[in-house]
Protein backbone atom coordinates (compact mmCIF):
# COMPACT_ATOMS: atom_id res chain seq x y z
CA UNK A 1 0.00 0.00 0.00
CA UNK A 2 1.52 3.39 -0.97
CA UNK A 3 2.44 5.77 1.86
CA UNK A 4 -0.04 8.41 0.71
CA UNK A 5 -2.93 5.95 0.94
CA UNK A 6 -1.95 4.87 4.45
CA UNK A 7 -1.57 8.43 5.66
CA UNK A 8 -4.52 9.79 7.64
CA UNK A 9 -6.15 13.00 6.46
CA UNK A 10 -6.51 14.36 10.00
CA UNK A 11 -4.81 13.34 13.23
CA UNK A 12 -5.79 15.47 16.23
CA UNK A 13 -4.57 14.73 19.74
CA UNK A 14 -5.65 16.94 22.65
CA UNK A 15 -6.20 19.98 20.43
CA UNK A 16 -6.93 23.13 22.44
CA UNK A 17 -7.37 26.74 21.47
CA UNK A 18 -8.08 29.80 23.64
CA UNK A 19 -9.27 33.32 22.96
CA UNK A 20 -7.74 35.21 25.84
CA UNK A 21 -8.90 33.45 28.99
CA UNK A 22 -11.77 31.63 27.29
CA UNK A 23 -11.23 28.10 26.05
CA UNK A 24 -12.87 27.85 22.62
CA UNK A 25 -11.73 24.30 21.99
CA UNK A 26 -10.30 21.83 24.47
CA UNK A 27 -8.97 18.29 24.27
CA UNK A 28 -10.26 17.37 20.83
CA UNK A 29 -8.76 14.11 19.59
CA UNK A 30 -9.75 12.22 16.47
CA UNK A 31 -8.45 10.50 13.41
CA UNK A 32 -9.94 10.76 9.91
CA UNK A 33 -8.83 8.74 6.90
CA UNK A 34 -8.44 10.18 3.43
CA UNK A 35 -11.68 10.18 1.46
CA UNK A 36 -13.83 10.22 4.60
CA UNK A 37 -16.26 12.92 5.72
CA UNK A 38 -16.26 14.25 9.27
CA UNK A 39 -19.41 16.11 10.24
CA UNK A 40 -19.19 18.39 13.28
CA UNK A 41 -22.35 19.20 15.19
CA UNK A 42 -22.83 21.53 18.12
CA UNK A 43 -24.73 24.63 19.21
CA UNK A 44 -23.51 28.16 18.46
CA UNK A 45 -20.23 28.86 20.25
CA UNK A 46 -19.40 25.17 20.60
CA UNK A 47 -16.07 25.61 18.81
CA UNK A 48 -16.94 24.34 15.31
CA UNK A 49 -15.66 27.39 13.44
CA UNK A 50 -12.53 27.53 15.62
CA UNK A 51 -11.82 23.89 14.75
CA UNK A 52 -12.18 24.63 11.02
CA UNK A 53 -9.91 27.67 11.26
CA UNK A 54 -7.23 25.66 13.06
CA UNK A 55 -7.43 22.96 10.36
CA UNK A 56 -7.27 25.68 7.68
CA UNK A 57 -3.97 26.95 9.21
CA UNK A 58 -5.58 30.32 10.02
CA UNK A 59 -5.41 29.80 13.80
CA UNK A 60 -2.58 28.22 15.77
CA UNK A 61 -3.42 25.41 18.14
CA UNK A 62 -2.44 26.36 21.71
CA UNK A 63 -2.01 22.79 22.93
CA UNK A 64 -2.06 19.29 21.52
CA UNK A 65 -0.92 18.10 18.15
CA UNK A 66 -2.58 18.64 14.78
CA UNK A 67 -1.60 16.78 11.65
CA UNK A 68 -3.40 17.67 8.40
CA UNK A 69 -2.75 15.65 5.22
CA UNK A 70 0.44 14.37 6.80
CA UNK A 71 1.80 17.81 7.77
CA UNK A 72 2.13 19.00 11.34
CA UNK A 73 0.52 22.35 12.17
CA UNK A 74 1.54 25.08 12.58
CA UNK A 75 5.14 24.09 11.70
CA UNK A 76 4.35 22.75 8.22
CA UNK A 77 1.31 24.90 7.48
CA UNK A 78 2.83 26.09 4.21
CA UNK A 79 2.79 22.52 2.91
CA UNK A 80 -0.98 22.02 3.23
CA UNK A 81 -2.33 25.38 2.16
CA UNK A 82 -2.39 24.46 -1.52
CA UNK A 83 -4.18 21.21 -0.69
CA UNK A 84 -7.15 22.52 1.27
CA UNK A 85 -10.17 24.64 0.49
CA UNK A 86 -12.19 26.59 3.05
CA UNK A 87 -15.80 27.65 2.73
CA UNK A 88 -16.59 29.57 5.89
CA UNK A 89 -19.22 32.00 7.13
CA UNK A 90 -17.47 34.80 5.23
CA UNK A 91 -17.19 34.35 1.45
CA UNK A 92 -13.58 35.71 1.45
CA UNK A 93 -14.45 37.78 -1.60
CA UNK A 94 -14.20 41.51 -2.27
CA UNK A 95 -17.63 43.12 -2.52
CA UNK A 96 -16.48 45.80 -4.96
CA UNK A 97 -15.10 43.27 -7.42
CA UNK A 98 -17.13 41.09 -9.76
CA UNK A 99 -17.39 37.32 -9.42
CA UNK A 100 -14.97 36.89 -12.32
CA UNK A 101 -12.45 39.39 -10.93
CA UNK A 102 -12.57 37.73 -7.50
CA UNK A 103 -12.09 34.25 -8.91
CA UNK A 104 -9.30 35.38 -11.23
CA UNK A 105 -7.53 36.98 -8.28
CA UNK A 106 -7.69 33.73 -6.30
CA UNK A 107 -6.74 31.71 -9.39
CA UNK A 108 -3.56 33.79 -9.72
CA UNK A 109 -2.73 33.30 -6.04
CA UNK A 110 -3.15 29.53 -6.42
CA UNK A 111 -1.45 29.34 -9.82
CA UNK A 112 -4.64 28.03 -11.45
CA UNK A 113 -5.37 28.50 -15.14
CA UNK A 114 -8.01 31.18 -15.76
CA UNK A 115 -10.02 28.77 -17.92
CA UNK A 116 -10.94 27.04 -14.66
CA UNK A 117 -12.57 30.31 -13.55
CA UNK A 118 -14.89 30.31 -16.57
CA UNK A 119 -15.64 26.62 -16.06
CA UNK A 120 -16.61 27.19 -12.42
CA UNK A 121 -18.69 30.29 -13.16
CA UNK A 122 -20.71 28.10 -15.50
CA UNK A 123 -20.96 25.23 -12.99
CA UNK A 124 -22.37 27.51 -10.28
CA UNK A 125 -24.62 29.21 -12.86
CA UNK A 126 -23.03 32.59 -12.30
CA UNK A 127 -21.70 33.11 -15.82
CA UNK A 128 -24.61 35.45 -16.61
CA UNK A 129 -23.93 37.71 -13.59
CA UNK A 130 -20.15 37.38 -13.49
CA UNK A 131 -19.49 41.00 -14.48
CA UNK A 132 -21.50 42.60 -11.70
CA UNK A 133 -19.90 43.67 -8.40
CA UNK A 134 -20.68 41.22 -5.61
CA UNK A 135 -22.28 43.98 -3.54
CA UNK A 136 -25.15 44.02 -6.06
CA UNK A 137 -25.77 40.25 -5.85
CA UNK A 138 -27.94 38.28 -3.43
CA UNK A 139 -26.35 36.38 -0.55
CA UNK A 140 -27.18 33.09 -2.24
CA UNK A 141 -25.37 34.16 -5.40
CA UNK A 142 -22.35 35.30 -3.38
CA UNK A 143 -22.36 31.91 -1.62
CA UNK A 144 -22.27 30.18 -5.03
CA UNK A 145 -19.23 32.25 -5.99
CA UNK A 146 -17.67 31.40 -2.61
CA UNK A 147 -18.16 27.69 -3.37
CA UNK A 148 -16.38 28.24 -6.69
CA UNK A 149 -13.53 29.99 -4.85
CA UNK A 150 -13.17 27.18 -2.33
CA UNK A 151 -12.83 24.47 -5.01
CA UNK A 152 -10.91 26.55 -7.57
CA UNK A 153 -7.66 24.62 -7.02
CA UNK A 154 -9.26 21.17 -6.64
CA UNK A 155 -8.31 20.78 -2.97
CA UNK A 156 -7.88 17.33 -1.43
CA UNK A 157 -9.43 18.49 1.83
CA UNK A 158 -12.55 20.63 1.95
CA UNK A 159 -13.43 22.50 5.13
CA UNK A 160 -17.08 23.53 4.95
CA UNK A 161 -18.83 25.66 7.55
CA UNK A 162 -22.57 25.35 6.94
CA UNK A 163 -22.01 25.22 3.18
CA UNK A 164 -25.69 25.42 2.30
CA UNK A 165 -26.33 28.66 4.20
CA UNK A 166 -28.23 31.17 2.03
CA UNK A 167 -28.69 28.64 -0.78
CA UNK A 168 -32.13 27.73 -2.15
CA UNK A 169 -32.88 24.05 -2.93
CA UNK A 170 -31.94 24.48 -6.61
CA UNK A 171 -28.60 26.05 -5.67
CA UNK A 172 -27.94 23.24 -3.17
CA UNK A 173 -28.32 20.77 -6.04
CA UNK A 174 -26.11 22.96 -8.23
CA UNK A 175 -23.15 23.03 -5.84
CA UNK A 176 -23.51 19.40 -4.68
CA UNK A 177 -21.12 17.99 -7.31
CA UNK A 178 -18.50 20.59 -6.35
CA UNK A 179 -18.50 20.13 -2.60
CA UNK A 180 -19.75 16.56 -2.46
CA UNK A 181 -17.58 13.60 -1.48
CA UNK A 182 -16.85 12.64 -5.10
CA UNK A 183 -15.45 16.01 -6.21
CA UNK A 184 -11.79 15.06 -6.20
CA UNK A 185 -10.71 13.54 -9.54
CA UNK A 186 -8.17 11.33 -7.73
CA UNK A 187 -10.87 9.61 -5.66
CA UNK A 188 -13.17 10.53 -2.82
CA UNK A 189 -12.45 13.94 -1.35
CA UNK A 190 -11.85 14.33 2.37
CA UNK A 191 -14.28 16.74 3.97
CA UNK A 192 -14.92 18.35 7.31
CA UNK A 193 -18.41 19.82 7.49
CA UNK A 194 -19.90 21.92 10.27
CA UNK A 195 -23.63 21.48 10.24
CA UNK A 196 -26.79 22.35 12.15
CA UNK A 197 -28.88 19.92 10.12
CA UNK A 198 -28.74 16.53 11.90
CA UNK A 199 -30.43 14.39 9.23
CA UNK A 200 -28.56 15.83 6.25
CA UNK A 201 -25.28 15.91 8.16
CA UNK A 202 -25.65 12.33 9.37
CA UNK A 203 -26.40 11.17 5.83
CA UNK A 204 -23.12 12.66 4.59
CA UNK A 205 -20.91 11.63 7.51
CA UNK A 206 -18.47 8.78 7.95
CA UNK A 207 -17.46 10.12 11.34
CA UNK A 208 -19.49 12.36 13.66
CA UNK A 209 -18.00 14.81 16.15
CA UNK A 210 -20.26 16.55 18.63
CA UNK A 211 -18.95 19.64 20.41
CA UNK A 212 -20.42 21.37 23.42
CA UNK A 213 -18.71 24.32 25.10
CA UNK A 214 -15.52 23.59 23.16
CA UNK A 215 -15.33 20.05 24.48
CA UNK A 216 -15.71 16.80 22.61
CA UNK A 217 -19.15 15.47 23.63
CA UNK A 218 -19.55 12.82 20.94
CA UNK A 219 -17.19 11.00 18.60
CA UNK A 220 -18.38 7.94 16.78
CA UNK A 221 -18.73 6.41 13.35
CA UNK A 222 -21.85 7.77 11.67
CA UNK A 223 -23.52 4.37 11.34
CA UNK A 224 -23.52 4.05 15.15
CA UNK A 225 -25.00 7.49 15.83
CA UNK A 226 -28.71 8.04 16.41
CA UNK A 227 -30.41 11.27 15.37
CA UNK A 228 -31.57 11.84 18.96
CA UNK A 229 -27.95 11.88 20.18
CA UNK A 230 -27.18 14.78 17.85
CA UNK A 231 -30.35 16.62 18.85
CA UNK A 232 -29.30 16.14 22.48
CA UNK A 233 -26.18 18.28 21.81
CA UNK A 234 -28.40 21.30 21.17
CA UNK A 235 -30.48 20.96 24.37
Amino acid sequence: MPAAAREGALELAGLSRHYGEREALGGVSLSLQKGQTLVVFGPNGAGKTTLLRVLATLLRPHAGSVRVLGSELPREAWAVRARLGLLGHEPLLYRQLTARENLRYHARLHGVDERRVEELLELVAMDGRSSEPLRTLSRGMVQRVAVARAVLHDPELLLLDEPHANLDPAAVELVAPLIGAGGDPGGRRTRVICSHDPSRGLAEADLVLGLRGGRQALLREARDVRLEEIEELYR
Binding site: A56, T57, L58, L59, R60, W78, R81, A82, L84, L86, G88, E90, P91, L92, L93, Y94, R95, Q96, L97, E101, Y105, H106, R108, L109, H110, G111, P133, R149
Partner: protein, 224 residues
Protein backbone atom coordinates in the same frame (compact mmCIF):
# COMPACT_ATOMS: atom_id res chain seq x y z
CA UNK B 1 6.63 36.27 -6.02
CA UNK B 2 6.42 38.77 -8.92
CA UNK B 3 3.30 36.99 -10.15
CA UNK B 4 1.67 37.20 -6.70
CA UNK B 5 2.60 40.86 -6.27
CA UNK B 6 1.08 41.54 -9.70
CA UNK B 7 -2.17 39.79 -8.73
CA UNK B 8 -2.39 41.69 -5.43
CA UNK B 9 -1.53 45.05 -6.98
CA UNK B 10 -4.10 44.57 -9.72
CA UNK B 11 -6.75 43.74 -7.10
CA UNK B 12 -5.77 46.79 -4.98
CA UNK B 13 -6.10 49.16 -7.92
CA UNK B 14 -9.40 47.64 -9.06
CA UNK B 15 -10.86 48.08 -5.56
CA UNK B 16 -9.62 51.69 -5.40
CA UNK B 17 -10.98 52.50 -8.87
CA UNK B 18 -14.38 51.08 -7.85
CA UNK B 19 -14.56 52.75 -4.43
CA UNK B 20 -12.45 55.92 -4.90
CA UNK B 21 -11.98 55.87 -1.13
CA UNK B 22 -8.32 56.83 -0.83
CA UNK B 23 -6.72 58.90 -3.60
CA UNK B 24 -9.53 61.46 -4.13
CA UNK B 25 -9.75 62.00 -0.37
CA UNK B 26 -5.99 62.45 -0.07
CA UNK B 27 -5.87 64.89 -2.99
CA UNK B 28 -8.84 66.91 -1.82
CA UNK B 29 -7.36 67.13 1.67
CA UNK B 30 -4.07 68.49 0.26
CA UNK B 31 -5.82 71.08 -1.91
CA UNK B 32 -7.98 72.26 0.98
CA UNK B 33 -4.97 72.51 3.28
CA UNK B 34 -3.09 74.71 0.77
CA UNK B 35 -6.09 77.01 0.55
CA UNK B 36 -6.22 77.17 4.36
CA UNK B 37 -2.49 78.02 4.53
CA UNK B 38 -2.92 80.61 1.80
CA UNK B 39 -5.48 82.52 3.89
CA UNK B 40 -4.17 81.69 7.37
CA UNK B 41 -0.65 82.98 6.60
CA UNK B 42 -2.13 85.91 4.70
CA UNK B 43 0.63 85.55 2.14
CA UNK B 44 0.41 85.10 -1.59
CA UNK B 45 3.83 83.51 -1.93
CA UNK B 46 6.12 81.40 0.23
CA UNK B 47 9.59 80.07 -0.43
CA UNK B 48 12.50 78.24 1.18
CA UNK B 49 11.95 76.75 4.65
CA UNK B 50 8.34 77.91 4.93
CA UNK B 51 7.41 76.52 1.51
CA UNK B 52 9.09 73.18 2.28
CA UNK B 53 7.39 72.98 5.68
CA UNK B 54 3.92 73.66 4.28
CA UNK B 55 4.38 71.19 1.43
CA UNK B 56 5.66 68.32 3.58
CA UNK B 57 3.28 68.72 6.49
CA UNK B 58 0.40 68.71 4.02
CA UNK B 59 1.70 65.65 2.16
CA UNK B 60 2.29 63.84 5.47
CA UNK B 61 -1.29 64.29 6.70
CA UNK B 62 -2.72 63.46 3.28
CA UNK B 63 -0.61 60.27 3.23
CA UNK B 64 -2.00 59.24 6.60
CA UNK B 65 -5.50 59.22 5.12
CA UNK B 66 -4.29 56.64 2.59
CA UNK B 67 -2.41 54.64 5.23
CA UNK B 68 -5.58 54.36 7.32
CA UNK B 69 -7.55 52.85 4.43
CA UNK B 70 -4.82 50.55 3.14
CA UNK B 71 -6.00 47.27 4.72
CA UNK B 72 -9.64 48.09 5.44
CA UNK B 73 -11.13 46.06 2.57
CA UNK B 74 -8.91 43.10 3.48
CA UNK B 75 -9.93 43.20 7.13
CA UNK B 76 -13.63 43.75 6.52
CA UNK B 77 -14.16 41.39 3.59
CA UNK B 78 -11.97 38.44 4.55
CA UNK B 79 -9.17 39.38 2.17
CA UNK B 80 -6.53 38.46 4.76
CA UNK B 81 -7.89 34.94 5.14
CA UNK B 82 -8.23 34.53 1.38
CA UNK B 83 -4.59 35.53 0.96
CA UNK B 84 -3.33 33.45 3.92
CA UNK B 85 -4.99 30.33 2.51
CA UNK B 86 -2.97 30.63 -0.69
CA UNK B 87 0.42 28.91 -1.00
CA UNK B 88 2.32 32.15 -1.59
CA UNK B 89 5.11 34.13 0.05
CA UNK B 90 3.50 36.53 2.53
CA UNK B 91 6.09 39.19 1.76
CA UNK B 92 4.23 39.61 -1.55
CA UNK B 93 1.47 41.40 0.36
CA UNK B 94 3.96 43.81 1.94
CA UNK B 95 5.46 44.60 -1.46
CA UNK B 96 2.06 44.99 -3.14
CA UNK B 97 0.66 47.22 -0.39
CA UNK B 98 3.80 49.37 -0.32
CA UNK B 99 3.62 49.73 -4.12
CA UNK B 100 -0.05 50.65 -3.83
CA UNK B 101 0.74 53.35 -1.28
CA UNK B 102 3.60 54.55 -3.48
CA UNK B 103 1.18 54.87 -6.42
CA UNK B 104 -1.32 56.73 -4.23
CA UNK B 105 1.44 59.14 -3.20
CA UNK B 106 2.45 59.64 -6.82
CA UNK B 107 -1.09 60.55 -7.86
CA UNK B 108 -1.47 62.76 -4.79
CA UNK B 109 1.71 64.64 -5.68
CA UNK B 110 0.68 65.00 -9.33
CA UNK B 111 -2.31 66.94 -8.03
CA UNK B 112 -0.83 68.59 -4.92
CA UNK B 113 2.51 69.90 -6.20
CA UNK B 114 1.11 71.93 -9.14
CA UNK B 115 -1.66 73.19 -6.86
CA UNK B 116 0.96 74.22 -4.27
CA UNK B 117 2.94 76.04 -6.97
CA UNK B 118 -0.19 77.81 -8.14
CA UNK B 119 -1.52 78.81 -4.73
CA UNK B 120 1.56 79.46 -2.62
CA UNK B 121 4.99 78.88 -4.14
CA UNK B 122 7.02 81.96 -4.99
CA UNK B 123 9.86 80.65 -7.19
CA UNK B 124 8.82 79.02 -10.47
CA UNK B 125 8.13 75.29 -10.13
CA UNK B 126 10.02 74.45 -13.34
CA UNK B 127 13.37 75.33 -11.77
CA UNK B 128 12.66 73.41 -8.58
CA UNK B 129 11.18 70.34 -10.24
CA UNK B 130 14.24 68.05 -10.82
CA UNK B 131 15.47 68.44 -7.24
CA UNK B 132 11.97 68.22 -5.83
CA UNK B 133 11.25 64.99 -7.73
CA UNK B 134 14.35 63.39 -6.22
CA UNK B 135 13.27 64.38 -2.69
CA UNK B 136 9.68 63.27 -3.32
CA UNK B 137 10.88 59.87 -4.58
CA UNK B 138 13.02 59.20 -1.51
CA UNK B 139 10.38 60.43 0.94
CA UNK B 140 7.62 58.43 -0.77
CA UNK B 141 9.56 55.18 -0.42
CA UNK B 142 9.85 55.81 3.34
CA UNK B 143 6.16 56.72 3.64
CA UNK B 144 5.25 53.54 1.76
CA UNK B 145 7.38 51.27 3.96
CA UNK B 146 6.34 52.82 7.28
CA UNK B 147 2.73 53.33 6.19
CA UNK B 148 2.31 49.68 5.18
CA UNK B 149 3.82 48.43 8.42
CA UNK B 150 1.70 50.74 10.58
CA UNK B 151 -1.48 50.04 8.61
CA UNK B 152 -1.01 46.27 8.97
CA UNK B 153 -0.59 46.73 12.72
CA UNK B 154 -3.43 49.21 13.18
CA UNK B 155 -6.00 47.23 11.20
CA UNK B 156 -5.81 44.41 13.78
CA UNK B 157 -6.95 46.76 16.54
CA UNK B 158 -10.46 47.94 17.37
CA UNK B 159 -9.47 51.64 17.37
CA UNK B 160 -7.61 51.47 14.06
CA UNK B 161 -8.67 54.98 12.95
CA UNK B 162 -7.00 56.41 16.04
CA UNK B 163 -4.14 53.95 16.44
CA UNK B 164 -2.93 54.25 12.81
CA UNK B 165 -2.18 58.01 12.84
CA UNK B 166 -0.89 57.90 16.45
CA UNK B 167 1.68 55.30 15.50
CA UNK B 168 2.44 56.64 12.01
CA UNK B 169 3.05 60.28 12.94
CA UNK B 170 6.14 59.85 15.15
CA UNK B 171 7.64 57.36 12.72
CA UNK B 172 7.04 59.68 9.77
CA UNK B 173 8.37 62.82 11.47
CA UNK B 174 12.03 62.09 10.52
CA UNK B 175 10.91 61.78 6.90
CA UNK B 176 9.15 65.14 7.06
CA UNK B 177 12.22 66.73 8.66
CA UNK B 178 14.60 65.18 6.11
CA UNK B 179 12.38 65.96 3.13
CA UNK B 180 11.69 69.54 4.28
CA UNK B 181 15.42 70.21 4.84
CA UNK B 182 16.31 68.61 1.51
CA UNK B 183 13.70 70.53 -0.47
CA UNK B 184 14.12 73.88 1.30
CA UNK B 185 16.99 75.12 -0.96
CA UNK B 186 15.18 73.73 -4.01
CA UNK B 187 12.09 75.79 -3.17
CA UNK B 188 14.12 78.91 -2.36
CA UNK B 189 14.84 79.85 -5.97
CA UNK B 190 17.38 79.24 -8.70
CA UNK B 191 20.52 80.52 -6.93
CA UNK B 192 20.23 78.15 -3.96
CA UNK B 193 21.12 74.91 -5.81
CA UNK B 194 19.86 71.33 -5.43
CA UNK B 195 18.91 69.27 -2.38
CA UNK B 196 21.77 68.85 0.14
CA UNK B 197 23.41 65.43 -0.09
CA UNK B 198 23.43 65.06 3.71
CA UNK B 199 19.62 65.14 3.93
CA UNK B 200 19.17 62.97 0.85
CA UNK B 201 21.45 60.39 2.43
CA UNK B 202 19.51 60.60 5.70
CA UNK B 203 16.26 59.97 3.82
CA UNK B 204 17.84 57.07 1.93
CA UNK B 205 19.12 55.46 5.13
CA UNK B 206 15.77 55.88 6.87
CA UNK B 207 14.06 54.21 3.90
CA UNK B 208 16.50 51.33 4.03
CA UNK B 209 16.15 50.80 7.80
CA UNK B 210 12.33 50.84 7.72
CA UNK B 211 12.23 48.75 4.57
CA UNK B 212 14.19 46.08 6.41
CA UNK B 213 12.10 46.40 9.59
CA UNK B 214 8.89 46.07 7.57
CA UNK B 215 10.31 43.01 5.77
CA UNK B 216 11.29 41.40 9.07
CA UNK B 217 8.02 42.10 10.91
CA UNK B 218 5.32 41.82 8.29
CA UNK B 219 4.90 38.03 8.40
CA UNK B 220 4.37 38.17 12.17
CA UNK B 221 1.67 40.81 11.76
CA UNK B 222 -0.30 38.51 9.46
CA UNK B 223 0.12 35.50 11.76
CA UNK B 224 -2.54 34.56 14.29
Amino acid sequence: MRHTVGALLRKELLVEIRTLESVPGMSLFALTTFVVFHFALNRNVVEGDLAAGILWVTLLFAAILGVNRLFVADAEEGGFDGFLLAPVDRTAMLVAKALTLLLYMLVLELVAVPAFALLLLGPPLGQALPGLIAVLALADVGVAAIGTLVAALAVQTRARDLFGPLLALPLLVPIVIGAARASSPVLAGAHHGGPPARWMLTLGLYDLVFGLIAYALFDFLLED
